[in-house]
Symmetry: C2
Subunit: 317 residues, 2 copies
């Protein structure tokens, strides 16, 4: 028990592997001292950032959008040629982790980290590798719940808008552990004294933020970029779309020119179970209604949008 809970997953039980191993009575996850070193320097996570992850808020014991996060984990695994995670086993492991948490923070952050396992280009990996490595933690000091209006800038991601279909080896749309560029974008934001960035294509379309989705509101109509452009399908964005529909509005996945973002009535950055209002983007200012933001987040955290969000997605999906 504590306010930081670390677990090491049992790959033979958490993945649909072809090894024939596992499916025994071993635990899905071992809870360990969060200060313990549990990762090998020969692990693909360390040598190559070669893995996938998910993160969300655990609000009063409930992991927000857990099913959509685990579906996205599956999707990332497919794009990365990793074995398929066993969604039910992962959900069970997450709940085992949550049971250990007794911190006072109502909304600690949950992270699921998965690597390809030990690097098979190393001696240690050649001897012992094969199964993915899994670490999970709940961290009351790593939460994400600032809802003050943020200022943003746009930055190019360097790609044209048709790259995802033409070059799947670039992994656009997979949530990989290789986030050095995402981190560098946040350092660039610090230098420019803004909170976050909207990434765009070289031909002027909206993508996503380094660790968030972007949603524009026109009247009661919500719009976000279609994931087929090579971005993540937002989990909290789906909760927001469900909220909008419950309130009588509509929503849309679109190939969204950046100028249309500047014409929005309101703008939201969504991630990890939180909808955050954007006050400014590239100098353009947006209306922010703090009580509306509070209502949206309260509805998402109370689970009011949960079931509906599971059925929301672009038509092509």
């Amino acid at each position: 028990m504590g306010n930081i809970i670390l677990g090491v997953g049992n790959a033979a039980r958490l993945f649909h592997s072809d090894t024939g191993e596992g499916k025994g009575t071993e635990d899905l996850i071992s809870i360990v001292d969060p200060r313990a070193h549990v990762v090998s320097a020969f692990d693909f996570a360390v040598t190559r950032g070669d893995g996938i992850f998910e993160a969300t808020t655990v609000w009063k014991g409930q992991p927000v959008s857990l099913e959509n996060h685990l579906r996205r984990l599956s999707h990332s695994a497919r794009l990365m040629d990793l074995p398929q995670p066993d969604i039910e086993a992962f959900a069970q492991a997450v709940h085992t982790l949550i049971e250990q948490y007794d911190g006072s923070e109502a909304g600690p952050l949950l992270r699921l980290l998965i690597s390809r396992g030990l690097d098979d280009a190393t001696g240690i990996g050649r001897q012992d590798g094969g199964l993915p490595s899994i670490w999970m933690f709940i961290d009351a000091m790593g939460s994400l719940h600032e809802t003050d209006p943020i200022s943003m800038i746009s930055l190019t991601r360097g790609y044209p808008s048709d790259i995802a279909g033409r070059a799947p080896w670039l992994l656009n749309g997979a949530k990989t552990l290789s986030y050095a560029v995402n981190q560098a974008i946040h350092r660039e934001c610090d230098r420019r004294k803004v909170t976050d960035a909207v990434l765009t294509t070289e031909d002027g379309y909206v993508l996503e933020c380094p660790n968030s989705s972007i949603v524009a509101q026109y009247g009661t109509h919500l719009v976000t970029p279609d994931p087929s452009i090579g971005i993540l399908h937002g989990t909290t964005q789906r909760e927001l779309f469900a909220y909008g529909r419950q309130e009588g509005g509509s929503f849309e996945y679109a190939k969204l020119p950046f100028e249309r973002l500047l014409e929005a009535d309101r703008l939201y950055m969504t991630h990890g179970g939180w909808v955050i209002p954007v006050g400014e983007l590239d100098g353009r200012r947006y209306t922010v209604d703090p009580s509306s933001i509070e209502s949206i987040n309260a509805a998402i955290h109370a689970g009011r949008t949960h079931d509906e969000a599971l059925g929301i997605g672009p038509k092509a999906e």
Copy 2:
């Protein structure tokens, strides 16, 4: 002693940090059991692939191109807003590691892995973070010395050729731990039954290979892409340029259209202290002279090109 040697570096001694700590009498590096877990799941290496690395062959006790690798480590640190490594201290730590190696392999692989340290968006990182993490290993089972002619394909890297100057937050030219895309490119090569890939820009210029440089030979003239296009400055490529000059040839860094690569007399992929002949690229076949390849690698490993390689670079550098 053994054929896999793992060390954990002392950041206070290996980096020019402003903390005022360190510079004491502690060891630069602690040698540990290679099977030990030495990395926290809350380390930036694991959570974000947020770090830098270098790799080279240690030939009969001599790390090939060590100074150029450590200079490149400095360059990567600058692009990544990391503190500057103390080059002399790193070189000393590498030699401490090498002294422990007593495997029978003449050319084991050395890897230097550096992360930003504990992730300060986690509770563990907030309590203990601040200094980079450093791991180093020598691995006799992780060597790279196949010199049979390889077949290659070209694949787009998705970027235009002018992106590095316009968008430094994309980290082009830094050797980061975020290599998931590089790994995916190698899986794509496996699917297409080739050994490796030459990456190109969207406007048709040559970049580099996922973990190697590419060098074209026309008569006795060697040409490689200028690093200013947003690629690594090859260490073994510099050794090859030095070799070429010693043999009476010339060399050039250029903005190299992909078609010119197909017109080369010979083509080489260079990495980690080895020059590897390319037999085929996109179906075009190249002459390979195995005895020349053997002479080049022997000269590099014997240190014959070492001093001269230190002075080789594009004019603008």
